[in-house]
Symmetry: C2
Subunit: 265 residues, 2 copies
């Protein structure tokens, strides 16, 4: 089970990063036992951070939904791809054209968006029309950095699969012959930023998620351990899609927590 990542050289575990949708809950239902498993992590004095690739929900929204499912967490424990974009904008002092859904705008409160000199693309169906895409195109062609919240091809909606932000980012990359800076999972900087607040390094942390590439592959590329759970978007064989293999593949979040408490402390 511990073949994927060498354990000998690792430092003592301090933090656990946890994916939300598909890991703690699937749609509007909590994974059975997940709330209690979270408590057990906290009782073991492990720092916990919730990391998600959302492009449309503010932290406040996410917090409300998770508390509604009886999860015990604070807003400052949530780190999203929107947070990562905001952090990049603050660092670079760029003024973005924000192609994100209205529900996500509050996570950019206070960011100057006048006379944009950058383009930020999330999942924004109402902005994905020719005119707005053209405005973004001209900005990028004129030298404005193109920042992608993430590049997912599509996602699952109640009425079937629907386009993610990736195709629109890719279209702008093709038109302008440039590469977007991706800020969400599976980018290394996403994970290191999430850990930075906790003051711990990748070899003191483990990531739990249902996406082999975005969660496990991304985290392990930084030096963290990655645990893949067989809930949410997991499909048999997903554990073979990343190299090195996940540190562990197990059925659910509570199983992942059991493994951590029994084997990694």
């Amino acid at each position: 089970m511990l073949d994927g990542v060498k354990m000998a050289s690792r430092r003592a575990l301090k933090a656990v990063l946890v994916d939300l949708s598909g890991t703690l809950h699937v749609d509007d239902t909590a994974v059975p036992g997940a709330q209690d498993a979270l408590h057990r992590l906290r009782r073991a004095s492990l720092a916990v951070k919730f990391v998600t690739n959302t492009t449309k929900e503010s932290k406040r929204n996410l917090l409300g939904r998770l508390r509604g499912l009886n999860f015990d967490l604070q807003e400052n424990e949530i780190f999203t791809s929107l947070s990562a974009a905001r952090s990049l904008l603050e660092k670079t002092r760029l003024r973005p054209l924000l192609l994100v859904e209205d529900g996500a705008l509050e996570d950019f409160a206070g960011i100057d968006t006048s006379e944009p000199n950058a383009v930020v693309v999330g999942l924004a169906p109402e902005h994905f029309n020719y005119q707005t895409m053209n405005t973004a195109f001209r900005l990028v062609l004129g030298g404005a950095p193109l920042i992608a919240i993430h590049k997912a091809r599509y996602y699952k909606r109640k009425d079937g699969l629907a386009l993610g932000p990736g195709p629109f980012v890719t279209g702008l990359e093709y038109a302008t012959d440039c590469q977007a800076t991706v800020v969400g999972k599976p980018e290394k900087t996403f994970f290191t930023q999430a850990l930075a607040d906790l003051g711990c390094s990748p070899d003191e942390a483990v990531m739990i998620g249902d996406d082999a590439r975005d969660d496990v592959g991304g985290a392990q590329s930084t030096g963290m351990l990655g645990i893949l759970v067989r809930t949410g978007k997991y499909r048999p064989g997903d554990e073979n899609k990343v190299n090195p293999a996940p540190h562990l593949t197990c059925d659910t979040f509570p199983d992942a927590v059991d493994h951590i408490l029994h084997n990694l402390l």
Copy 2:
């Protein structure tokens, strides 16, 4: 001048393919002497075909505009990327979702578009919104072929550069992990289809255009001779962007005609 393509093995010249915008005319102005040069080609008993990558103008529209500039031509001498798409649809008996401008629809008259099982993408600003892109995405994901009129990144509009169909085609390719079939220039089949009606082979034909890659490179890849003119979108050095080099680079369409009449007959 004749270094680019070996002349010894070629058959007698029978046909000339001529690009429209940038070659015969620039915006609403004919290239000086172009109407007379066209007459000289016809008097030399050369078949002429007008080939263009338009994705939004019907043949009838193009004909009207060219006759308004005093060019002598017939509708059946025009071969466009829309014609190439129609030809592919007829051959494969596919029923397309047509993402083209309303002005181009008449070139698809009689094509069955009920219960689409193919997607055809031209430049269609009014269709490039999330909902229509999503409809196209689901069709392609379900196995419908994706057909691109062409994949231009952008084009020049009076108010500046504007997105072409390419970025939207590329977005759908990315989302569905498939490759579009491109029917316009510089695809080989575009040129061979244009010649097929004339009953002549590539080594009996020459192409004249202002786009080094789409006109000259595409035509020469089929075995035709390619002549690059320094009007329209030509920029100094364009002749170096294709390999083999153009058969000839000259100032204008009348100069290209002079060369053909004096050296290729």
